[in-house]
Structure formats: C-alpha cells, structure tokens
Amino acid sequence: MKPFDYVRPGERSSAHEAARDGGRYVAGGTNLIDLMKLEVMTPDTLVDISRLDLDGIETVDGGLRIGATLTNSDLAADPRVRRDYPVLARALLAGASGQLRNKATTGGNLLQRTRCPYFYDTDTNCNKRTPGSGCAAIGGETRNHAVLGASEHCIALHPSDMAVALRALDATVEVEGPDGAPREIALPDLYRLPGATPHIETSLAPGDLITAVRLPAPSGDRQVYRKVRDRASYAFALLSVGAVLRMENGRIAQAALAFGGLAPQPWRDREVEALLTAETPSDALFEKAGEVLLAKADPPPGAAFKLPLTKRVLKAVLTEATQ
C-alpha cells in the first residue's frame, strides 16, 4: 500500500476541492482499500465522504431517492424497497456477505472495479491498470469474463449485483460536479464500454461526486432477481438477471431486463424487451429472447458455457415473472 493522505471533510465543497487535487472518494472502502493494499490503485489522498450527510433515503415524485453513502444493508432492509422494488432488495442480498454489506454503500457499489483476476495481479498485463500494456486475460483463464460488450483490449466483467437491479429499474444517478453544479446521469450513460480505453470506466470527471441514486416509480410489479454462482453465498455472479415486468390481459405489457455476469457493465438490450412486449408468454418466445440477446455474443473460450446458461435462466426468469 502506497502511503496516502486522508481527509474527512464535513462540507461537500471541501470534498470537491480535495478530489480536484487528485483525491479519491472513499465511503465503505470494501473494494478500494483491498485494491490499495495490492497497489492496483494508488491514490495520493483519500477523501472520506462518510460525514457528508448523504445516507438518507426518501420518497420523491412517486419514486425513491437513495443517498450515495446509504449502506447496502440499510437499503436492502428499507420497507419501501422491499415492497416496491423487491428486485433491488434481492440483488443487494445476493451480493457479498453480511459484513461487507454493512460497510458497502450505494455509490461505491456502482463504482466497484472488475474482479478480473488479472486486473488484481500487478505482475500481469492489464490495460485497465496500465493502459497499453496488453490484456493477460485474453489467452488466459476466462471462465468469468465478458461475452457481450468486450473489446480486444479488455474482457473484464462488471461485478455488481445491485447495479443490475438498478439498470432494470431505470435508475438515474445524481452527480455533483467539482464546482458544486448538480446533474443527473442515466445509469447506462454512467458506464462506458471498454473499447480501446478500458481504463476509463465511467463518464465521471475528476471531482464528480455521486450524491444519490434516483428510482422512478417501478414500471412493473413482477420483479425477479436471479443469480447463478459457484457457491450458495459470497461469490460473484456467473450470471444474474434482474427482471421488472408488467402484465396486462395475459400479455407482457412492459419488460425491463438487465443482466450481470455477461458484460463490462450491467447489460440491457432494448431489442429483447421489444420482442417480448405485447406478446403472450410462451417457451418459444422466451427462447427467442435468449437468442436475440446473445446474437452478438463473442465469449472467450472459458466463458462459452454462459450462452446456454443465459438462455436457460432467462427462460426460467421470464416464466416465473409472467405466471
């Protein structure tokens, strides 16, 4: 761990200032501190945002506004979340362990780094860690790497469960710029695909601070979160599906589907959703949805199993959500 300075501002303005000068925000630290110990990340200054009073949760315009430093445990336990956004509560509880969820926060969870083992290993090449050095995962061990949205420079996955549910719920992210100006970013616009610059993972600029996540009123009452993993608890997803559906007269009126364990960001495919909309549920329809979703999939050798797995799980999730 490289020596670093630590500041804990009580005002957002001083937080912005510290971050503009190269500081990195830390909240729960469940991912950042690990990466610092391994010197995968080596910030000069940590700006602790835990005293900025960002841990509220409130009802706004029929939806929810979730503070950036609210812990995953508290968010999962909130009665409004459990009642109106069960897909989110389940996704949260499917992630990490109780101890980690007690520390991990909403904003930090969104910005957690990939679990690609080569990213964690400073003795191997990684374009995310050292731009231009190459990708050791390609040609290596690729059982849990991306099958969609990857590039020849990076095949790492986004590891979050929570973000998959938020993606299905059409969440937006409230950000405050270094000058204090607020703006709102739709979740898909927060994340960037790796392309030739896998080290640039989000559209946030230095000093930008996530202050809250906004959820609109849920678009559907049928919500499912299903995660497939190597053990019953405390394992990153081989695949996860967050589904929010609304049925009308036996047909699918609206479908939002987000996927984890498939891509460098929580994945959503409007074509799949359009295919389902206004249709009567059937095995054939769900199988078609899986084919459309994976039409452009290009799995590395170790992750080829994800294609049949995804088709089966998607079918099961849609069956459950439409029954």
């Binding site: 080569y118 290596g140 608890s233 199993f305 799980v313």
Partner: protein, 728 residues
C-alpha cells in the same frame, strides 16, 4: 526411567476401559477454548518483542533466472532496514517430516510465486510498500506447466500388478473403464503462515505456525547452517495447518536470516495470496479406473492409474493409490502411479493426501459399477469387503466397514431410496441421495511425553502441537484418567521444542501417537506410585486425587508430600505394520438438490459413520469429521485452483475466488461413531480420525448428484458449467 513401548504385538489388556476417573471418551470442552475465543491465546504473529521489525516476502513474477535491479533504491525507502536475497532462503515449504532443509535459493524461480526476497522495515506498511516497489526481473524460461503436456515419470516403486487383468476383463459380466480428474487444491488454513524470530547472537527463538516441531527445528537449523540445539521453536497455538505447515515455510527462514543479520526481532507474515503459492498445494490428478465384476458384483479385476505432478526435484507425489491397495478384494489388480514434472507451485500433503482424491474418484467408479450391475451401492461395497489385505495377504487389525455401512444406511434412511435416478423433483430441483465408503491408512509415529505430578496436580509436557484438533483436550483427559485427577488439575503444555518431542500433527497420527506417549508417561507414574506403596500398579485405583487400595484411601498430596514425580513415556512403531494391515473405515451418505435450470447443486444433508478405534473425546472427534465432510463438499462442488495455462501461476489466489464452502453451503451434518477397540493400536486403542471424514465424502455428494438428475460428473469440482454440460 522412561516407559517405552514398541508396537510389535496386540495389546489385549484394554486397561483404558477399567480406569475409573471417567473422563476419557467423554465430551469435554477444550481447555484452550476460552483463551482462543477471547483472543488471549497468542499465535505466531502476535508477540510484540521490543524492537520488532517487519518483513514482507517478494514473489517471482515468472520462471527463470531472477534479478532485482532496484534493490539499492528500495533499501533507501522510508523505514526500510534490509532487502534480503540470501541463498539460504527456501524455494517452497518443506515436505512433511523432511527433517532437513528444503530446496534453497533465490537466483532462479522454478515457479511463479516463488519467494525471492524479503524486505524488512520499521512498520508492516513500509515493508509491504517497499516489497511492492522491488522490481523483480525474470528471464522467462519456456518451462512446462501442464501435466498433460509432458512425458510423465513412472517411478519403479509405485507400480504394482497381480494376476491376469486381461483375462479377468474378458470373463467378466461387467466391465467399467472411466477417467476422473481432480483440481489443484490448497489447505487454506485460517491463520496465514507466520513467524516471529529473535536471535541473541547464538540462539534463535522462532515463534511459528507449524505442525511438527521436532522436524521443523532440524529443517530450520539446516537451512540456516546452525546447530539444531541453537534453535528453539514455539508454536503453542496454530490456526489450522491441514498439511501446509508440516514443514517449515518461507517466512521461517527469511525471518530468522533477517533477525541474525539485523540483531533485531523480525516478524514475517505471509499475505493470503502468498499462502496460496509459497506453500504446498494438493496436486491435480487424472485417474483412470478400470473395474471388472462378476454377475453378483464381486470385483474380479481392479486397476487404478494416477497422474499427479510436482516440481522437478520434489520427492513427494500425491499418493492417490494408497486406499486402493486395501479397500476392496479383487484377485487381479494393478496400481500405477505417474508423475509429471512441471513448474506449478510445489505439491505436497494436504489433508488426507492420497485418499482424499483417490478414494473419492474410486468411490464414484464404484457407484458407476453399482448402476451398471443394478446392485444397491451399499450392498455392492458389502460384497467386496476383503477378509484380509488383498495384496499382502496379512490380516486386518480390525475392520469395521460393514458396521459403518449398515449403521450409516440405517441412520440416513437409505432403505427408502428409489434405485433409479431422476425420481424426485421439487420445482426445478432434482433431489437425490448417494453414498460412498471411506478408507484411510492408519499410522503411529514415534513420540515422547512427560507428566510432572506434584501432589494432586499434573502437568503434561510435549512439543506436540494443537492445530485446532483438540490435542490440549485429549492429553488432559488421558493424564487425568490414568492419574485419577479431575480435569482442572491437569495442565497441558505444548508446542515448544524444549519439551519432549511428540509426533507432531499430521497424517491423523497425532492423537494416537502422542496420546500413547502421554499414556505411557501416566503409566510410568502409576508404577512409581505403586512402588512407593509396595503394591502392583494393576491393583491401584486412583480417583479424584485419592489413592484407593482395598479399604484404605489416601490423598495423593498427602502420600507424596509435595515431591515432584516425573513420568516419561515413549512410543514407537514396531513390527505391527508388517503383521497386520491397519486402517480406519467409514461410510458417507449425502442428499443433494440439483437445479435443472442452472446446474447449481445445493447440499441438503450429510451423514457419516466412522470407525477409528477408541474415540477419546466425541466432541473434538466429531468436529474433525465435520471438517472433513465440509472439505468433501469443497472437493466435490467448489474448490479448484486455476493455473494460468501459459505460466502455471495460481490465478484465483484469494478467498473471494478460491471457493471454500461457506456456511450457506453446508447442510446439517450428522456424525456417528462405530464402537471399535483395535488391540494393534496400542494401550489406548485409538486410531486417526482427522482425515477419515474427507475420504470419500465428495464421492457421496457426486453420486447423489447422479441419482438426483442423471448427470455423472467425472471432473471435480462439479461447478454449474460442468453440471449443465452433463445435464443437457
């Protein structure tokens, strides 16, 4: 005078059942439990001697010649005291009972992850940061890392054959030819390998996390080039070992060298990622098993061929075939061991080396034979129990497999099981049950112990370790039982090379070996007491600190008036192992659920019935069996080291990605002990229990998976991707 015992003949006296204190064989709590729970027990990294400095090991990032060009500038970093690259540093942990230095040197890396330097600084953080700043250059060699890509050695002593296999197969009603693979696995003890070394100019005192101190002292002295008398090792508490701490590991030698160089106490703790690489792993295996059976399912031919790997100059080869030598009768048999020399991190003993993977694969093959013959899996095993050692022809010292199978089946409710697979479903989940037999060789090792008796208080002393197994508890019980003392009057001192050398902890032999030495020491004291009272030891009744003879009672304290009596015990293996085949036996049963959608497997329940001689303390013994069964879950379902195909390095070397079973993976575990008194096991009649629970446990699970959903998994662990491929 030491009371010696050499195990050459059976001991039918069965004295342990005649003693009256009533503590041996009971569910006593661990005397060390409270201090561990409240954090008062000090482990290797916890003492803080004055002037303590901190060392951090540095790994090689490749295979080949090693250099560190910026060592001088790292030496100038804040707080840094030393950048050590000493030819005496060791390449990987010593193998169990090596008793001499393992391979040494830092100029060449034979595997990725090899320790090649130690950086010492004032604080742990400074040492780690400087270690990360040290640039290690490796002239990368094109070294083979895939066991399947090299021509394997076929060591002469490890190929056996009897009878005519071809003829047996030709004449058989059923033949089976299957290949199974198991992955590299690691011990993954909770406490990382750690050492705190102090040097006074002549003598080294090392607090370590080690299993076998009398060997470790010689290994360390030999590595350093100093006399063993000048090395003292302390390891009173060890947070798990599972084989990875049998021999000294890199931090011991590195800490000692730095302490000698700097004249200051040095602490070196392996980072969890280093624990994976620098200590011995369990080799991956490929096992081809060929069986032939008659119409009744009796084996006529048995072949077991195993491919394992290790570094070029390591002598250890995972003894996969160990259980197959004696598990089942078959007149025609061949066992063949092949060793691939590759440059993955060194392989060595990991809990139940040999049977853990060998019995597990074999017991899946037996299940396949049961399915092929239409014979119930329990019945198939019963029909193949040998009446003597099938190779050597010598009798078994005791053989309780039949009882374990029958009693286990009854307790598990096996009789209700529908025989064909895919009969039970709950929603998307297939439900099934499976079983497997458990086999493990039993060994006794030389051990010494001493008991000091002062009035009605006793202290047991030996350098034996307690690696979480319960040594403190059972030695206290043995001494208390023999001397007729309440438990709290007996203290146990362990883990110090100044004390009489015990067996060390390993190979399941610790309790029986050092326990017997404690027994002999206690018996020595009983004889001294009898002599003082001019009676026969056998006529002596000792209970609650009182000597009872006929109608007279006298307190121990009064009789000896503060004199310290010293009892010395010594046990060593004799001819017994040539005269009889001795082993422990058991039966595993498991119920699983398999998702038809995802291939995920969830455990529902497990039962194990085990016969391992006298059970000294059911609480600690059961805990050992629970541990073994949970290891079986890991082996069957989740645990695998992934080696990078290009340079063999361990890709998933942390607890987030190396998937040990966690609480949510472990179902209710039920353990039953089969009564057994094995006279060939010495006066205690106890045998090893520490490893039996893992042997075959994974097979019961994988056989249950087949019964549930019809998918036969032959590559372990059965992760969802593999199950799905077998389901579709």
């Amino acid at each position: 005078m030491t009371l010696d015992l050499k195990l050459d003949a059976p001991d039918e006296a069965n004295r342990a059942d005649d003693l009256v204190q009533g503590v041996l064989g009971h569910e006593n709590e661990r005397p060390d439990g409270l201090s561990k729970a409240i954090g008062a027990a000090t482990y290797a990294a916890e003492p803080r001697p004055d002037g303590l400095l901190h060392g951090f090991l540095v790994r090689a990032p490749g295979i080949g010649a090693v250099s560190c060009s910026n060592a001088n500038s790292v030496r100038e970093m804040e707080g840094v005291r030393l950048v050590l690259r000493d030819p005496r540093m060791i390449r990987n942990a010593a193998q169990g009972a090596a008793n001499e230095a393992p391979v040494q040197g830092v100029d060449r890396a034979e595997y990725v992850g090899q320790p090649v330097a130690l950086v010492v600084a004032d604080s742990f953080e400074q040492a780690r940061h400087a270690a990360q700043a040290l640039e290690v250059e490796v002239e990368t060699d094109d070294a083979p890392v895939d066991p399947e890509a090299v021509t394997a050695e076929k060591p002469d002593g490890r190929q056996t054959a009897q009878g005519d296999l071809d003829a047996a197969r030709r004449d058989a009603a059923h033949v089976l030819d299957r290949t199974y693979t198991t992955s590299s696995m690691v011990s993954a003890a909770m406490e990382p390998h750690a050492a705190t070394a102090e040097w006074d100019g002549t003598r080294l005192v090392l607090r370590g996390s080690l299993q076998m101190l009398k060997y470790n002292r010689n290994e360390l002295a030999d590595s350093l080039g100093i006399a063993p008398e000048n090395v003292r090792i302390l390891a009173p508490y060890v947070g798990g070992g599972f084989g990875s701490k049998l021999g000294i590991s890199a931090e011991c030698v590195a800490a000692a060298l730095a302490a000698i160089e700097l004249g200051r106490p040095i602490r070196v703790v392996q980072h969890r990622r280093q624990v994976f690489e620098m200590n011995t792993r369990r080799s991956e295996t490929r096992q081809r098993i060929r069986l032939a059976a008659d119409r009744q399912g009796r084996l006529t031919a048995l072949e077991h061929e195993a491919l394992v790997s290790n570094l070029p100059d390591e002598t250890f080869a995972e003894p996969v075939l160990q259980g197959s030598h004696f598990a089942y009768a078959a007149p025609n048999r061949a066992l063949r061991m092949h060793v691939a020399r590759i440059h993955r991190p060194a392989a060595g003993s990991v809990r139940a080396p040999g049977e853990a993977v060998g019995v597990t694969a074999f017991e899946v093959a037996m299940d396949e034979l049961a399915v092929a013959t239409g014979i119930d899996p329990v019945e198939l095993r019963l029909r193949n129990i040998p009446d003597k050692d099938p190779e050597a022809g010598i009798p078994f010292s005791s053989h309780r497999l039949k009882a374990a199978l029958s009693e286990g089946a009854r307790r598990f409710g096996w009789a209700d099981r529908p025989s064909p697979p895919r009969q039970r479903r709950e929603g998307e989940w297939w439900i099934g049950t499976g079983m497997a037999a458990a086999f493990r060789v039993n060994a006794i090792m030389e051990a010494q112990a001493r008991i000091l008796l002062t009035g009605d208080r006793a202290v047991v002393e030996t350098d034996m370790t307690d690696i979480g197994t319960g040594s403190y508890a059972i030695f206290q019980q043995i001494a208390a039982e023999l001397l007729g003392l309440p438990l709290e009057r007996v203290k146990v001192r362990l883990g110090d090379t100044e004390l009489p050398p015990g067996s060390g902890s390993g190979g399941s032999f610790g309790a029986a070996s050092t326990g017997t030495a404690v027994w002999m020491a206690g018996m020595d004291l009983r004889r001294q007491i009898a002599r003082a009272l001019a009676c026969d030891e056998a006529d002596l009744t000792l209970k609650d600190g009182t000597i009872i003879r006929g109608n007279t009672r006298r307190s121990l304290a009064e009789a000896f008036d503060g004199t310290v009596l010293t009892g010395d015990g010594h046990v060593q293996p004799g001819d017994a192992q040539q005269k009889v085949r001795q082993a422990t036996f058991g039966a595993h049963f498991a119920e699983v659920a398999v998702s038809d959608v995802t291939g995920e497997i969830r455990m529902r329940r497990m039962h194990g019935s085990f016969a391992a001689g006298r059970i000294l303390n059911p609480r600690t013994a059961r805990s050992q069996c629970h541990g073994g069964m949970i290891w079986g879950i890991g082996m069957a379902l989740t645990e695998a080291v992934t080696h990078d195909r290009r340079d063999g390095h361990m890709v998933n070397r942390d607890f987030a990605e190396y998937h040990l079973p966690v609480n949510a993976d472990v179902p209710p575990l039920d353990v039953h002990f089969i009564e057994e008194r094995d006279p060939w096991a010495g006066p205690l009649q106890a045998k090893g229990i520490g490893e039996l629970g893992i042997c075959g446990a994974g097979a019961a699970i994988l056989n249950a998976v087949h019964h549930a959903c019809g998918a036969r998994l032959r590559d372990f662990p059965a992760t969802p991707d593999r199950v799905l491929a077998a389901l579709v």
